[in-house]
């Protein structure tokens, strides 16, 4: 299989990444090289094999629904690009 520029644009949009035309071109070539390499997986017979999502077989632990963390909002918001009155500021999304 081979990707085209339109598909690169589509996945860049999905990934919320702005790509310049030149970057898209380079990316296309590199991704085609990588997917050409990955293609060998298709030749392997995996009928009846259970997908392995994780390195170890564990079930999700449950914990009591109680407060365990202290309020550290100020410390966490100190590293934010823009905050006001304890809120994270983003460009207007609702008119």
């Amino acid at each position: 299989m081979s990707l085209n520029l339109e598909e690169i644009g589509r996945i860049a949009k999905l990934a919320r990444l702005e790509l310049s035309a030149a970057e898209a071109e380079t990316t296309l070539n590199q991704l085609n090289g990588i997917f050409g390499f990955i293609e060998q997986l298709q030749a392997v017979n995996t009928d009846g094999i259970e997908p392995m999502a994780h390195a170890v077989d564990v079930v999700q632990r449950l914990r009591p629904d109680t407060v365990t963390e202290t309020d550290r909002r100020e410390a966490f918001q100190a590293v934010a690009p823009e905050t006001e009155a304890g809120l994270y500021l983003v460009p207007r999304v609702v008119e």
């Binding site: 990934a15 919320r16 990316t27 990588i34 392997v44 999502a53 690009p81």
Partner: protein, 487 residues
């Protein structure tokens, strides 16, 4: 005693005997960092005052009666570990202003053990790379030859040990990022079984593969460090609840009777002759020490690199979606709306390799391709893990090369991502299976560059593996070697 080349055990003894204080010891390494780091670019953040204050605290703890094998010993953290009050960049422009408001569990545990933070060390951006060339803060130089890469992604960690800028460092390994740089820089590094060390506060790359581990001069040092790093953490949903163990318990165990499996796929034509010669010599040494070798097969291991480059980017694309310019990290200066702010902040904050992997991940997870790529790769992951289960029926540990070549030169592989990806051909299968693995120095190849022997243990076989490594290090001195002019 030469402090900069001393084992952690000897440093500990010197501290206990008051031959040196924690402040003096940290000062010694800080001086070396100041002198040598400009040549290697291993450290990205150093804060002398903060380090010395922490060292003074450890001296006070000792004065108050506390003892411990790591109390007062300095170490550096890979810049992927959130370290409270320290800049934590993950090698990225995205986090060039991120002063962490909290400590990773690994950082907390090592502090509790009495270790002093020497600084933060350089790495490939978001741990994506095998040469340290993807760091936003410039590549790390290999102390054995500054024209060569130190390996990656824990390249700053490896170079710090090789140049004796730190007696111990932390690293992380998603596809070989501890073992390959350890091999290329001539030191000992261990990636534990998945789930043994907490991932809390360790900036995520591929969550089902990421695992932190120690890097130091010797297996004995690594055992001490792992004892302090390992343990259940309720803040990591994949942390394993197991009894505490002493990872150094097999260090004194003789090798007689140890069965070493040699996967025939690891000894094929992909390995350079100089690496092969050093690895074969190490195996001869093991046989001399009483171990036996047996050929095993990992028939699907050749698929590990392509499977990894589906699974790891898929997980990365999901993990790195958190970098959106809202709560932390880089935000573009100009944008038209929220969507544009995300797209521009991410485009400006991430480097080329990170973008590439995010795009691969977004593609393999997208509608219509999920089954063909992601699910397929996960099935192959199972086959790779099954191969190891079979192999461990006839051997105690597996041995082979850690890297197919000695350290390569800058630029040699950076133009072709697939060539770069193949430098982890011997390490990736271990991550996919969740097994522990390590690299230890076993000689020198062409141009006097270090070669690493990889050992792979069965699940939770860290102690066994460390024992096998230590016995080899008792009989050889490769692990004590340092680049000329640095001792």
């Amino acid at each position: 005693m030469k402090m900069i080349n001393a084992s952690l055990k000897d440093l500990s003894a010197a501290l206990a005997a008051k031959q040196v204080s924690a402040v003096e010891l940290s000062g010694l390494f800080l001086d070396r960092i100041e002198k040598f780091n400009p040549a290697y670019n291993a450290f990205v953040t150093v804060d002398r005052a903060k380090t010395l204050a922490q060292a003074a605290e450890m001296d006070a703890r000792r004065a108050a009666g506390e003892t411990g094998p790591l109390l007062g010993i300095p170490l550096a953290h890979k810049d992927i570990f959130c370290t409270e009050g320290w800049l934590t960049t993950c090698g990225s422009k995205m986090l060039n202003n991120f002063v962490s408001p909290y400590d990773a569990t690994v950082v907390t545990k090592l502090k509790q053990a009495g270790m002093v933070t020497l600084g933060k060390v350089n790495m490939d951006e978001f741990a994506m790379g095998s040469s340290n060339e993807t760091s936003h803060y410039g590549s790390v130089k290999n102390p054995w030859d500054v024209n060569r890469v130190p390996g990656g992604s824990s390249g700053g960690s490896a170079a710090s040990i090789a140049a004796r800028l730190a007696p111990a460092v932390t690293g992380t390994d998603t596809g070989g990022s501890i073992r390959q740089p350890a091999s290329l820089c001539g030191l000992t590094g261990l990636k534990p079984t998945y789930g043994v060390v907490s991932r809390y506060g360790m900036i995520a790359f591929a969550s089902s593969l990421d695992q932190a581990g120690p890097m130091a001069k010797s297996a004995e040092d690594c055992a001490l460090l792992l004892n302090a790093m390992a343990g259940f953490d309720e803040r990591d949903s994949t942390s394993l609840q197991r009894d505490t163990e002493d990872y150094g318990r097999d260090l004194v165990k003789p090798l007689a009777g140890l069965r070493i499996g040699l996967p025939k796929e690891f000894f094929g034509p992909g390995m350079d002759d100089d690496v092969r010669a050093a690895v074969e010599a190490a195996l001869d040494q093991y046989r001399k020490l009483g171990a036996t070798t047996v050929e095993v097969s990992l028939p699907n291991s050749g698929l590990s690199v392509p499977a990894y480059y589906v699974i790891a980017p898929a997980e990365a694309s999901s993990n790195l979606s958190r970098f959106d310019g809202v709560r932390y990290g880089h935000r573009a200066a100009e944008y038209s709306d929220l969507g544009d702010m995300y797209a521009k902040s991410r485009a400006q904050g991430f480097g080329a390799e990170v973008k590439r992997r995010i795009l691969i991940g977004a593609y393999v997870l997208s509608h219509g391709y999920y089954d063909a790529y992601y699910l397929k790769a996960q099935k192959i992951r199972r086959l790779i893990a099954n191969d190891f289960s079979e192999a461990f029926k006839v051997c105690d540990v597996i041995a082979g090369p850690a890297s197919p070549s000695v350290a390569f030169k800058f630029g040699e592989k950076s133009a072709d991502p697939v060539q770069m990806y193949l430098s982890d051909i011997y390490t990736i299968s271990t991550n996919l299976a969740g097994l522990p693995g390590m690299s230890l120095p076993c000689g020198f190849g062409k141009d006097n560059m270090p070669v690493g022997l990889q050992l792979i243990g069965p699940w939770f076989g860290e102690a066994k593996m460390l024992g096998a490594a230590h016995q080899y290090q008792l009989a050889t001195d490769w692990h004590t070697r340092a680049p000329e002019g640095l001792l």
